[in-house]
Point group: C2
Chain length 467, copies 2
């Protein structure tokens, strides 16, 4: 997948990465929607690809050519079709004098990224050469990546083209360290073995690291810079990570902004703040990066900027070169996303007096109870402060009287045993009463492949709870 | 001048910096050529500006409005005209609600930089917003400038807009440390006082530092990264600088490439090379930066790329966003500079097998003696190896028999006394005989304000030498 980030655009084609956790049905839908001409399939995922191709044939769609990526020992899985090619053999037969096909316009598409599907059916987000170039440079800056970094891939490359650091590693002469499976032991082992300098990941990766078994950990060879994004992490996690030797920064963005769009640029004077204040600073999503023209928090109806008071909630909106060209073959969704001349993120935030933004919630994740808005993120932050809680997510549960009430889904740390009442009480002690959950459900949280909690599943579950 | 790098473009105007060492006559020529509407004058340079304005009036040209930058204590020089404004008062009367005037197109001009005049009459090099943005980011990368650097201005801001780091310091939240006069003592004092992290300068600045009095030096608070360019420095100077605690890198470019265009990106494996080899590596001008599309060494007639053999000399040519838009009001010079579809630097170089380029000479600085090409840079490198020589420059001296012969202008270190014959013998021991100077002249080298040796003056002197 890393090599194809260069080969495909250099051949004049558009690159579409697919999430490795999709099933055959989803893959067939995306192959058809993207009109893929060639599919490159890792040997571990051949069955899913085969299933997808079968589905395409059944619906009368011409399936793409298949290029199989064999195991590194060169052995092919049994039963590979005679109509397919093998990646390394294909390379060996290539023309070394092939002339790179430059895009005719810098606005030509370089890639299509299907959104992770937390909101609705996947949409194909189109990236341009121009946007990808600029977001690559901007992401290198915001992550402080100098020459010859060693990068551990705990962010999937199929997610916003690896937050554009696929191209970024090449730009800076970096070393790419890849993992078949992301486990705490693998993370610590690779850092130790390859002297990893930078990595990134959703908060779930950070959570995995701080909750790892001591026997799986290793002393880091130096400070490892880790950039987190995709969802606001519980503030406490920053300092637990720092205790282990990581430097953690936060960014914010969406597939539609090529991944990173804003980042919490740290000011040295904040080092001397009390822990609580530092946590608050760390938890902010910050300021726009060097590649973006504008980020603003606006009233979604009037399009007026909210005051920089740290209180007034508005929608985060983007403008600039590193905002998608549009959704593939979906003019309606594209127009909706850009209505008013800005890209509407669907995320709610406030702007602080120093210009730093802080995400409060997804617009659709807000719980409205008795006419009051509850930012589920704030409730989750309190829940993560509870010593027994490993993971937590809050959604609205329909209620005849209140409209909705906050409902917490909670996974406890191993060896801990508390009941719903304890947790509700804990929240009431730390929040206005109306914000505290009325219901607590104990179970593992459903997450998508990029680590985001799938709140639409939890909302369905909350709806189905017995009265 | 730093503030005006932002204020002028944000007011929708084009910024033209003038060399502070120009005389009234040159300033009047440039004011007229650039059609300046306002001139901002530092109080130290008021007399020169007044002279220029007088000259303009004499030729019937309407002089620009004058804004005087007073001493920091607010006192105005006596006799300031009533028709002029004072900078700080003007600011105090400004509208805080002024809306930034964005360029209509990103290709709109942001600045005009008059070339330093080593070749012919100054030309107005036009920079675009797009090019300036990209070269700013590229220069930050090649210099390894992270967030919140402390930058010492030993490169004048009137030279390629400070190699674009005027804007770069703002992009990275940097601190600007400025000097009224560049002396070794001031350099060491400011580094110590402000904990300078980065600086840059022509080789003459490096030479000034390594030849400084011990009493003027200070132990550096940390490694200070210094980027040198403008002319290839004598290789020895790199390691003398490193002994003093500086990290030195080399870049190459011209006013027409917004300053930096290539840089000698250092590879860790070169650290273990023998000193001689490391010197050779350090002295190369390297590879194109992240903002340029292409740098190549080409035969100036056929436009064919030279082989990457480290031997075949060709002309350095550039292509990309960070090449000037053209010369102001000089279509002929612009067409000549871009003939063949590439920007022709006029500099001669070879390309090594690893793609790194190495400058051999200015096309017009080559000495042709008995039909042989002599790269004056190679002769100068040998001269700098002589223990008694502080500075050296070689030009061609007209000769009835040979056409030209190499003529060395040399400044000795204090307390040394050698004669011409010693120096010629030293060169003959280290070079093919035809390359060794036939004449040695002892005197200070004429330099322009950016530290470049003015070879056109030396050529005149060599021509005028008695037989």
């Amino acid at each position: 997948m890393y090599e194809l980030h260069f080969a495909v655009p250099m051949a004049g084609a558009v690159f579409c990465t697919l999430n490795t956790r999709h099933d055959s049905n989803m893959v067939s839908i995306l192959l058809k929607h993207s009109e893929a001409k060639i599919i490159f399939v890792d040997h571990q995922l051949l069955d899913i690809a085969r299933g997808a191709l079968d589905l395409l044939e059944k619906t009368g769609t011409k399936p793409p050519m298949v290029v199989l990526i064999s195991e590194s020992d060169g052995s092919s899985p049994t039963g590979s079709s005679s109509s397919s090619y093998e990646y390394e053999s294909l390379l060996a037969n290539g023309h070394s004098g092939f002339e790179i096909r430059q895009p005719e316009s810098e606005w030509d598409p370089i890639s299509v990224n299907y959104t992770s599907g937390t909101t609705s059916s996947p949409k194909g987000v189109v990236y341009s050469h121009r946007g990808a170039y600029l977001n690559t440079l901007a992401t290198l800056f915001l992550h402080g990546i100098g020459t010859m970094p060693v990068y551990l891939w705990t962010v999937p490359m199929f997610h916003c083209n690896g937050w554009c650091l696929t191209w970024g590693m090449a730009a800076q002469g970096g070393t790419n360290v890849c993992l078949r499976k992301v486990t705490p032991k693998d993370i610590f082992d690779r850092i130790d073995q390859h002297k990893v300098t930078h990595m990134a990941g959703a908060p779930t990766v950070l959570s995995m690291i701080v909750n790892s078994e001591v026997r799986d950990r290793k002393i880091l060879p130096h400070k490892v810079e880790i950039m987190t994004g995709g969802a606001p992490p519980p503030p406490q996690i920053f300092f637990k990570m720092e205790e282990l030797g990581f430097g953690v920064s936060q960014l914010y963005g969406l597939t539609e902004t090529y991944g990173p769009g804003t980042y919490c640029s740290w000011k040295p004077e904040w080092d001397s703040l009390p822990l609580d204040e530092r946590l608050k600073m760390k938890a902010r999503q910050g300021v726009q990066h060097l590649g973006l023209e504008d980020v603003d928090i606006k009233d979604p109806v009037t399009m007026e900027s909210v005051p920089a008071d740290g209180k007034t909630i508005g929608e985060i909106m983007f403008r600039g070169n590193t905002v998608m060209s549009g959704y593939l073959k979906d003019l309606k969704a594209t127009e909706d996303a850009f209505s008013g001349g800005w890209f509407r993120s669907g995320d709610l935030a406030v702007k602080h007096s120093d210009g730093y933004i802080e995400v409060k919630d997804r617009a659709k994740d807000i719980v409205i109870t008795g006419g009051e808005n509850v930012c589920t993120l704030e409730v989750e932050t309190v829940l993560y402060n509870h010593p027994a809680i490993l993971e937590a997510a809050v959604v609205g549960r329909p209620d005849d009287f209140w409209g909705q009430t906050p409902c917490a889904f909670v996974k406890l740390k191993e060896g801990f045993d508390v009941d719903a009442q304890d947790i509700i009480k804990f929240c009431q002690d730390h929040l206005p009463h109306y914000m505290a959950p009325k219901t607590v459900v104990f179970e593992d949280l459903p997450r998508n492949s990029t680590g985001k909690v799938q709140k639409f599943i939890l909302r369905e579950k909350a709806k189905a709870l017995p009265l």
